[in-house]
């Protein structure tokens, strides 16, 4: 296993020229180091981007708020800009692991690992975030939902690096909510996690993004429910719309943390409660 510690974005991108599908990018290490210790991964190349200055920083850009991929959870939850424009991210970042993990774990890493139980990814879905990718030969931007392609799988090519994430400006009258159900009150991995952002004008839903984690092989949008909010609820009302969406859009499983039955039932209840509490729905 080759390890290259990059000191600049150019060095990181140069190192990634040789990367293969088996190569890994190391940021905070809170996922990768655990996998390595458990023998679950044996990369041919590890590119450490933890000290790359260009990956740090939160700043306003034309199309919203730029979050460098190396932004840590601690930085997210202490950032005034994040609290003002993307408060759900700060709320979710507080739910990630313990303080020590929050100090190391990065938003780029959380997205890059693409665990179905990731806490920040559903929030990025709900906020309609864009992922900025860069390689030695070019750059591209993808909607976050197109970036996550499967179980711990993403659209990132081996030679690409997540450079940053753009969160679009917060629309007026957008209502947002986040709920994580874990195995205990702190330092837990999600049994299920929900993030939603709904814009309404005069009681009419104009935009809705509802995302859930740990209820399928990847983070998912609850599109059936979103459609019902636009087009009108079924005769059974919100509960039926939620139930139909949970059935259609999720595929939870039994695992060491919970059961499929619990995940689908509780996801539905949490959604009903969150949506019922939103004044426009």
């Amino acid at each position: 296993m080759r390890v290259i510690s990059a000191r600049s974005l150019d060095e990181a991108l140069a190192a990634l020229r040789d990367a293969t599908a088996a190569s890994r990018v190391l940021a905070g290490g809170t996922d990768l180091m655990v996998e390595l210790a458990a023998g679950r991964t044996s990369p041919d190349l590890v590119v450490d981007v933890g000290a790359v200055p260009e990956l740090r920083g939160i700043r306003p850009v034309d199309d919203g708020l730029w979050l460098g991929a190396g932004t840590t959870c601690t930085e997210l939850l202490h950032s005034a800009a994040v609290t003002a424009h993307a408060d759900l991210l700060a709320i979710a970042a507080r739910e990630v692991g313990a303080a020590q993990i929050q100090n190391r774990a990065t938003i780029g890493g959380n997205l890059g690992t693409a665990s179905p139980a990731a806490d920040l990814v559903p929030v990025l879905f709900a906020l309609g975030a864009q992922v900025a990718l860069r390689s030695a030969t070019g750059a591209r931007v993808l909607p976050v939902e197109d970036f996550v392609t499967g179980y711990r799988a993403t659209a990132r090519r081996p030679d690409e690096l997540i450079e940053g994430i753009v969160v679009p400006p917060r629309p007026a009258r957008e209502l947002r909510a986040f709920r994580k159900v874990g195995t205990r009150r702190a330092q837990s991995i999600a049994k299920l996690v929900v993030a939603l952002a709904i814009a309404a004008d005069g009681g009419v839903v104009t935009a809705a993004r509802i995302a859930a984690g740990a209820v399928a092989d990847r983070t998912v949008r609850l599109t059936t429910l979103e459609r019902a909010l636009f087009e009108g609820l079924p005769p059974g009302g919100l509960a039926d719309a939620v139930a139909a969406s949970v059935a259609a859009d999720t595929a939870p499983c039994d695992d060491v943390r919970s059961t499929a039955r619990y995940r689908s039932t509780v996801l539905a209840r949490v959604l009903v409660r969150l949506l019922a509490a939103l004044p426009s729905c």
Binding site: V34, A38, R184, R185, V256, S258, V266, R269, V270, R273
Partner: protein, 732 residues
């Protein structure tokens, strides 16, 4: 003079631990030490055909030890000889060690372990203890004639049946298992230093493994990061492995488990199923009890007979009943062996009897508090073994204390099977209680057979050194011994030092288990100190000056005492009749929970507990034991899932092995009750295990109160509560 007992001294071991200077086994600098590890079974049951060595590895870089390399008996010395140090022909649980390897560094060790592949032919594995048939041990307790009572109950009496289950639990001590072993020195002595509760147990195991006299094995405890019973018997396994490797390598070998290995292979709490049949008069008087206790012992006997014994001795609870039959069995399965864990069988049977009492109360429309108080054992009553309680019975005192603190005696419980509760906030509250006792010290004649010894000896500078095999594992032994010795000697705590438990330098005071260190070992220490104080005399001058003068005059500065049971204690191990324990600690808990109706997450918002400890030698430490033990019980009650798939523990990392954090902890309201025990030091009884016993039944009773579904199994996870609620909807 009682300056230290009852006050709060600083912890002598505290500054080094807080500042990071304390030396744990992983920190110990040992020149030239190699790293040791084990090749383990990956299946629950199978016939070992051979162990393949993958080509390409240079085996000259490491040493490999197999069953044939054990110089003494290939037997893990404990109660039974059924567990080998290294499995030879058959493996009986996932993680069972087959071969040992030592290497100069960890990467080489890992490469060698990966290059050794056991070829094991699978055999059918028994993974359901409720259907397992191989019995490891049985216990019967009989009092009166319950059969006749059940056959012809008096008019108005009613029969109640209940089946109660508890799952396993992981000790999760902060520091994983580990030790360093040295090859035999010039006079043939094998030395082991490590993390452990019972150095003299480890010594005995090494003697058997090496076929040497116990004196030729020297075991020294290092700073130990917690045990909870998990370091009672298992450190002997690690020590034998390390010592065998040190012998083969001709150099010191260190084995320190990482958390993953520790979670996968070390013993945990015995899963249980307890069935109760209870005959109750209309006024709530318990007329007859029939209790069937079944424990999952796992693959080997380990300490299961004693765990079963304690489980059965607590199975009828702290209640009066003239006619009792208790039948206990521990059966073998192909799970990792179950072992010692705080409470040692009592939490399982305490859960069952307490939930059974709630069931009876509801059915008879009696108040659960009143039912318990009505039947509570009092001074002069006899337990299930016929033990008459002569002194130090705080039963009513603890019940009345929690009633005064919470008003539980006036609480109206919800009826079971009521409609699904609703609330605008989506949260509902519930209250539950438990009442329990815990026998302090070894069961029956255990202390008499053990004859624990403690020495107090004057050092040349006039300080007094406490010498005992009892270990500081975070619970405060050092502080408690310092307080007892200082007051019994009439000196300052600064005049007392506590010797490192080193089998070559301290007498065997017995294992640090069974809530016995303060009560039993402390009482021997107090009597030894009083004799030494009498020798030195109470002349003028500070203690050290007097001690030095005594030594200068040729006085004997060493007093060693042996434990003697209080007069009148009688125990018949064959019939389980008589005085099961020298005395009991008593306690009552009230749990207040809030349940989220969407997620069925349970918050224990307040836990009120009153505990009769005889005398709190160090009140702050006692409170720490009580709140820590109660939180461990709360975790077991609601979130500490331990499950296995094909015999492999699934919660094998800290990411999945869940215990409560401080955020999950309730507000604690602790009342310490002191009903002194005449034979304990300054009146003290045991406290270590008692707080583990009552949390689970109180929390599950509170959940039942909140949700109206019968909570009959530990842990009551949200997933299980959902299943119970759905079952009720289907049937109603």
């Amino acid at each position: 003079m009682s300056a230290c007992v009852g006050s709060d001294l600083g912890r002598p071991d505290g500054p080094a631990k807080v500042s990071g200077r304390a030396v744990y086994v992983a920190d110990l600098a040992v020149a030239g030490a190699w790293h040791g590890g084990a090749v383990r079974s990956t299946i629950a049951h199978g016939r070992v055909l051979r162990i393949e060595r993958k080509p390409g590895f240079d085996w000259r870089r490491v040493v490999v030890v197999g069953p044939g390399d054990v110089p003494g008996d290939n037997v893990q010395e404990l109660l039974s000889d059924d567990q080998p140090i290294l499995a030879e022909r058959v493996v009986r649980h996932v993680g069972e060690p087959l071969l040992l390897v030592a290497a100069p560094d960890l990467p080489t060790l890992e490469a060698a372990l990966a290059a050794l592949r056991p070829i094991v032919e699978p055999l059918p594995a028994e993974l359901d203890f409720e259907s397992a048939t191989r019995v490891l041990h049985e216990v019967s307790i009989d009092k009166g004639d319950p059969g006749a009572r059940f056959d012809s109950p008096p008019p108005g009496a009613r029969l109640f049946e209940g089946t109660w289950r508890t799952d396993s639990q992981e000790q999760l001590y902060v520091e994983p298992q580990g030790c360093v072993a040295w090859p035999a020195d010039a006079d043939g002595t094998v030395v082991v230093r490590g993390s452990m509760q019972c150095p003299h147990y480890v010594r005995k195991a090494l003697a058997r493994c090496f076929g040497i006299a116990p004196e030729r094995a020297r075991v020294v405890q290092l700073t130990t990061g917690g045990g909870f019973g998990g370091k009672e018997e298992y450190p002997s396994v690690v020590a034998c492995h390390a010592a065998l490797l040190a012998r083969a390598a001709g150099r010191p070998v260190r084995i320190v488990y990482d958390r993953h290995e520790d979670l996968l292979v070390t013993p945990k709490r015995h899963p249980s199923r307890v069935h109760h049949r209870t005959l109750v008069a209309a006024d709530g008087t318990l007329l007859a009890m029939d209790v069937d206790v079944l424990l999952d012992g796992g693959a080997y006997t380990t300490l299961s007979p004693v765990v079963l014994s304690r489980a059965c001795l607590h199975a009828s609870g702290p209640y009066r009943c003239e006619h009792v039959a208790i039948r206990g069995r521990v059966v073998a399965t192909n799970h990792v062996p179950s072992g010692a864990f705080r409470g040692f069988g009592a939490p399982q049977t305490c859960f069952a009897i307490e939930r059974q009492m709630d069931r009876i109360a509801r059915a008879l429309d009696l108040h659960p508090f009143a039912l318990r108080r009505h039947n509570a054992l009092r001074l002069g009553d006899a337990t299930a073994t016929g033990q008459v309680l002569h002194d130090s019975v705080g039963s009513l005192a603890v019940l009345d204390a929690v009633a005064a603190r919470t008003g539980i005696d006036r609480h109206r419980w919800c009826a079971p099977a009521m409609a699904v509760p609703s609330s605008n906030s989506g949260r509902v509250r519930g209250l539950g209680m438990s009442f329990f006792f815990h026998g302090a010290g070894f069961t029956g004649s255990g202390e008499e057979l053990l004859k624990g010894r403690v020495a107090i000896r004057l050092l040349p500078d006039g300080r007094a050194e406490v010498a005992a095999g009892s270990t500081e594992i975070g619970q405060g032994t050092t502080t408690v011994f310092t307080a007892i010795a200082a007051d019994a000697l009439g000196c300052d705590p600064g005049d007392v030092v506590v010797a490192v438990p080193d089998t070559a330098a301290v007498p065997d005071s017995g294992p640090t288990v069974a809530s016995r260190t303060c009560m039993v070992v402390g009482s021997v220490l107090a009597s030894a100190c009083r004799e030494l104080a009498a020798r030195i005399g109470g002349a003028a001058g500070d203690f050290r000056s007097r001690a030095r003068a005594w030594l200068a005059a040729g006085g004997d500065g060493i007093v060693e005492h042996v434990y003697g049971s209080p007069p009148g204690l009688v125990w018949d191990q064959a019939t389980y009749r008589g005085d099961a324990y020298p005395c009991y600690g008593w306690a009552a808990d009230v749990a207040e929970v809030e349940v989220d109706l969407d997620t069925l997450e349970v918050d224990v918002v307040r836990l009120t507990t009153a505990v009769d400890v005889g005398k709190a030698i160090q009140p702050r430490l006692v409170e720490g034991q009580i709140t820590g033990g109660a939180l461990q019980a709360i975790g077991w009650a609601q979130c500490e899932v331990v499950s296995s798939r094909d015999g492999r523990v699934q919660q094998d990392r800290l990411a999945t092995c869940i215990v409560p954090t401080t955020k999950d902890a309730p507000r604690f309201d602790v009342t310490i009750v002191e009903q002194p025990y005449a034979h304990g030091p300054f009146g003290a009884k045991g406290v270590g295990e008692l707080p583990m016993d009552g949390g689970a039944p109180a929390v599950l009773a509170a959940i039942e109160d909140a949700l109206g579904v019968p909570a009959d199994r530990v842990p009551a996870t949200p997933e299980r509560l959902l299943a119970l609620l759905e079952q009720r909807e289907r049937t109603s």
